[in-house]
Amino acid sequence: MSDADESKLAAVGSAWSLLRRFWGFARPHQRWIWLGIAMIPMVAGMTALRPLLLKHAVDVEIPDGDAIGLRVLGIGFLVAVMAEFLCSAVQVYALQRGGHATINDLRRQVFAHVLRLPARFYDNNAIGSLLSRTTSDVEALSETLAFGVFTILTDVVMIGTIVVAMFVLDPVLTLVTLTVAPVLYIIVRYFGASLRRLQLEIRKSQAAQTGFLAEQLTGVTVVQLYGREQAALGEYARLGQRNLDATKKANVLDALLFALMDGISAFTIALMIYFAAPSVTGGGAITVGLLFAFVDYLQRVFGPIKEFSGKLATIQRASASLERIYGLLDEPTEPRAPAEAADPLAKWRGGLSVRDLHFRYKSDGPDVLRGISFDIAPGEVIAVVGRTGSGKSSLGRVLTRFYDGYRGHVTLDVGERTVELSEVPPERLRAHVLMVQQDVFLFNDDVAFNVSLGEDAIAADPSRIRGALSLVQADAAIAERGGLGFEIGERGTNLSAGEGQLLAFARVAAREPTLLILDEATASVDSLTEQKVQRAIEQLLRGRSVLVIAHRLSTVRRADRILVLAGGQVVESGHHDALMAKNGLYAELVRAGLDDEAGASGDGAQPAAP
């Protein structure tokens, strides 16, 4: 979490622009919001009206001994109370409803946006921080809403109405009570600022403490094996003490604020009585009923002021969250084709030519592909071998447009024309070019979903899923587990590593891509599963163009051609036997055991360490 961002508090000007942009998300739900806003004057009006009724009773009905009038007034009072309750409930509900619906949309938008961010973005951003921006930051907005921050508007209108009402009733007495306003202002400002600072420190230190605890418990075995218990405990206590100090200070300030508001409220009433007394006793303009009304007004005013500072703090937290969310939404996504555009690869049969391909991950980094040229004919199987860091995985990432910005040419033969790779929208490309990565990613759902991945055409047709499973010979194992509805658990924990592999292959079989880019996994599986995996790969290589980043000798042997990469260049190419006879790098790799560089090349989303 980037707590540091939070310390730079949003200026008022930027707060407006944050809000304006937020309105863009709120517009579809604006009916609720307008309804809520429309209730504000009603609520404020009722609040101002009630004490007037009291005043009337005290000044007119009671001295006149008018029991009927008093009863009518009492009923009027209850009606006003009821109206105020209903208006304020509708107001709160409408604003919350509009707000939550907006936040829900915003969360969805952030999620959809992050899904479409390019791989380079994922390289530079920890998934944890993306998660926290999608959930925690959005949740902070939600909390702000729940805390009734929108009522701050009501509060302001209400206080304004009350002050106006007081002025109309008696300007002099109002001015007398307003003498405490500067004191209030200073208190709210001073306490507000200090409390906000402390709240920030509290949340920061708490996050640090919790993070530390989670990490130490995750690595508790190391802590214990290396006798670090006391050091860890000391650090935990230190972090806790930091939190404790801030919390205690905040507590005292909070208590003082609370008490000051109460005290000042009583003080103001006393002040008013003191100054009004001569006028009341001397038959001046001030009546007892007026004092009665003023007492009521003043009590209404102090409640909201007490909460002002807290509300401001949550608003500030929300705007910091909003800023981070917008920052994420402003990251450019991968391009997408317009929905109605024709598929540029409809007639593509898998023919591809690569000419003088250069590629680097970072603009200031070294080239990882340095002038690669080769062709794939429709239906041809090309194997790519090379040491870790030779550029073989990068090749797959460029050909699927996971990473853009190659130099040179990659052209696809579509009928009589050719299409440059960079001109095909990524999602159109990936409908035809399927890359299977080393680490199989499985979703916490059933087998059917993990094969179809929710693609309607496949999901709607279980026979297609079964066919795919049987092609990769996973049907028996899956049937044994309980069929397509078998829940495979979080990250596939209910399956063996080999079965996971086979599921990933079934995804390919169900989709029948024109070009398959297969990054062979080297996870250690037992020999029986290994045989199954090999046979499944064999099936997948048939009837389509394939670029396989090979780790298995059995796979390499089946390839029509082998490209040997070293340092981002093709250093050898040809068939297995020819390359073995040549006794060059390829022969060396084969002798070292192709499958022996397992694990070192890391996970699919990250570029391999150079």
């Binding site: 009585i273 022996d596 890391g602």
Partner: protein, 599 residues
């Protein structure tokens, strides 16, 4: 109910003074709080009657009111601070005590409990306990003191009016209590829904490569929508409660005010009441409703706090399941390590993971352990390092039963690299030397002054060379001072393994245990590492090299061991030196042939 309170009593005892003072301050505060409306009413009464000395009398009352108002600021602040701060201290002490207890518990415990669950006890539950002892404590005192005082003041003014205007408030309070209960169950549900939503988001982000490769964004979004919309639906139900349910109590207070106007107004007409009394009642009602609202929330906090206290107390009292220790190990030289007919079955497992293993490892010798995944290699290491407690009389260090040795002294003698390397989110340097787990404290030390230059550490340099980390470090943004781990730069699997290896080598202990630490390094590096580890052993300047246990599934790592055990299904199926095992032509020899090249 009694047990958690006794437990808390032990913690709260240290804060007896603040609580006592807080209680006194509270008493005074509440007196002032009910006195203020009464004075207000009196003043209005005086003014209404407009007697001869009305002016001086009312002004006198106003001044009394001012004094009281200023006084209430002090006592109210004191009462809240004195009650809340000890709660914070108790929360802090509970957290530290919990962590201390957890650090003393061993792997079997951590297998049964997820880290998230433990963190939640140490944070959320201690917070609930704090609310119980601070907030709830204050409110209970409030209820015992404030409500009776309010009632007393009201009854003193007028009994009938009190009963009348309390009628709606009693209903309001009962409704509030029910609403808060319902609300809390929704809060719990919403936390679960949010966690489920987060799971979906995390899953999608972690699997974004697969999603993208298969163009599965629409389905992923649909899966997200399911949970996002369920969460919204609950939020809206909560909003309805907030809007229509929560304000009912305050509403009932206003209805009470209406009753005051009606019934009380008639009382004034009948001459039984003064107008000021009406103001007293109105103000007291407002303050009473506030107290009742807080009470409704607090009753819920008490329930949750007691449950949380139970959980915290349970965790604090978890037995460490360690056998009683009678020996302290103080090794001056590498020890002899013996395994005698060691068999072990994990808790809840039906099959033993190790059966009848016998080893006699001479001081300074190297034992290699070879086997496939699941053959029992790691179990053996876990028992030797007492991550799991071995059966009594099976493992001996210099002739002492390992079960009887105090755990800290046993581990003090060892440098162990577990199978999965773990790096802390500190500087790489601190991860290896483990000298200072808190780089920030050191760096901040002198008012933002630049960090002190690290002293030369020849041992560290040697270890980094041996672990082949020198080149990797050169490529890190801040070299050895780069923060690594979860919250720092992510190292590759091989780099993590080598950093963990460096940590063990730096420790220089009489026993070295390496559990498959070279699995993610490529072959060339592996050969260099094996050579370096051997060289370190040979160059050990304090007498003998450490007694070493190396686990691997690769024969090339074990070549130089004095004895190699080949495990399969928990049994020793072959044993001997590298050469003798190759001659035997069994599992080891087969694997060796396969790993060395074409079969």
């Amino acid at each position: 109910m009694n047990a958690p309170l006794r437990f808390l009593g032990r913690y709260a005892r240290r804060n007896l003074w603040p609580y006592t003072l807080g209680a006194i301050a509270l008493l005074v505060t509440n007196y002032a709080v009910v006195r203020i409306p009464a004075l207000m009413g009196d003043a209005l009464n005086v003014l209404e009657r407009a007697g001869a000395d009305a002016l001086s009398q009312s002004r006198g009352l106003a001044i009394e009111l001012i004094v009281l108002a200023l006084g209430v600021i002090g006592v109210r602040t004191a009462s809240r601070a004195l009650f809340f701060n000890p709660g914070r201290e108790i929360e802090f002490r509970l957290g530290v005590d919990l962590f201390e207890r957890l650090l003393g518990l061993q792997r079997p415990f951590f297998n049964r409990h997820k880290v998230g669950e433990l963190v939640s006890v140490a944070t959320n539950d201690t917070t609930a306990v704090r609310l119980l002892v601070g907030f709830a404590g204050l409110q209970v005192c409030n209820v015992v003191v404030a409500i009776p005082m309010h009632l007393w003041q009201m009854l003193r003014t007028d009994v009938w009016l009190t009963l009348w205007c309390l009628l709606p408030v009693v209903f309001g309070a009962a409704y509030m209590r029910w609403t808060v209960k319902r609300f809390f169950s929704m809060v719990r549900e919403s936390m679960q829904l949010l966690a489920k939503l987060s799971d979906r988001v995390l899953e999608a982000y972690a699997g974004v490569g697969t999603i993208r490769a298969h163009a599965a964004e629409p389905a992923t979004l649909r899966r997200f929508d399911e949970r996002n919309d369920a969460y919204l639906a609950l939020q809206l139900r909560m909003s309805a409660i907030r809007a229509f349910g929560m304000p009912v109590l305050a509403f009932s207070g206003l209805v009470g005010t209406g009753v005051v106007l009606w019934v009380g107004g008639n009382g004034v007409l009948a001459g039984q009441l003064g107008v000021g009394d009406l103001a007293t009642f109105t103000a007291l009602l407002v303050s009473l409703v506030g107290t009742l609202t807080a009470l409704a929330w607090v009753l819920a906090a008490i329930g949750r706090g007691l449950i949380a206290t139970d959980r915290v107390a349970d965790l604090l009292h978890t037995p460490d399941e360690l056998p009683p220790a009678s020996h302290t190990l103080a090794l001056t030289a590498p020890p002899r390590i013996e395994l005698r007919d060691l068999s072990f079955t994990y808790e809840g497992a039906s099959e033993p993971s190790l059966q009848h293993v016998d080893v006699d490892l001479a001081p300074g010798a190297t034992l290699g352990i070879f086997g496939k995944t699941g053959s029992g290699k790691t179990t053996l290491v876990n028992l030797l390092t007492r991550i799991y407690t071995p059966p009594a009389g099976t493992i001996f260090v210099d002739g002492i039963d390992a079960c009887t040795i105090t755990l800290p002294s046993l581990r003090e003698a060892m440098a162990v690299v577990p199978q999965t390397p773990f790096l802390f989110s500190t500087r790489l340097r601190d991860n290896i030397t483990l000298r200072d787990a808190n780089p920030r404290a050191r760096r901040r030390g002198k008012d933002g002054a630049p960090p002190e230059p690290e002293p030369d550490d020849p041992r560290l340099d040697a270890v980094l060379r041996a672990s082949c980390l020198v080149d990797d470090i050169a490529n890190l943004p801040s070299g050895l001072d780069t923060v690594v781990g979860e919250r720092g730069v992510m190292l590759s699997g091989g780099q993590r393994q080598r950093a963990a290896l460096a940590r063990a080598l730096y420790r220089e202990r009489p026993v070295l245990v390496l559990d498959d630490v070279l699995s993610a390094v490529d072959q060339g590096t592996e050969a260099r590492l094996v050579a370096a580890i051997r060289a370190l052993r040979a160059g050990h300047d304090r007498g003998l090299a450490p007694t070493t246990v190396i686990v691997s599934h690769r024969t090339s790592v074990l070549e130089h061991a004095d004895e190699i055990l080949v495990l399969d299904g928990g049994r020793v199926v072959e044993r001997g030196t590298h050469e003798s095992l190759l001659r035997q032509g069994g599992l080891y020899a087969d694997t060796h042939a396969h790993q060395e090249g074409e079969p």
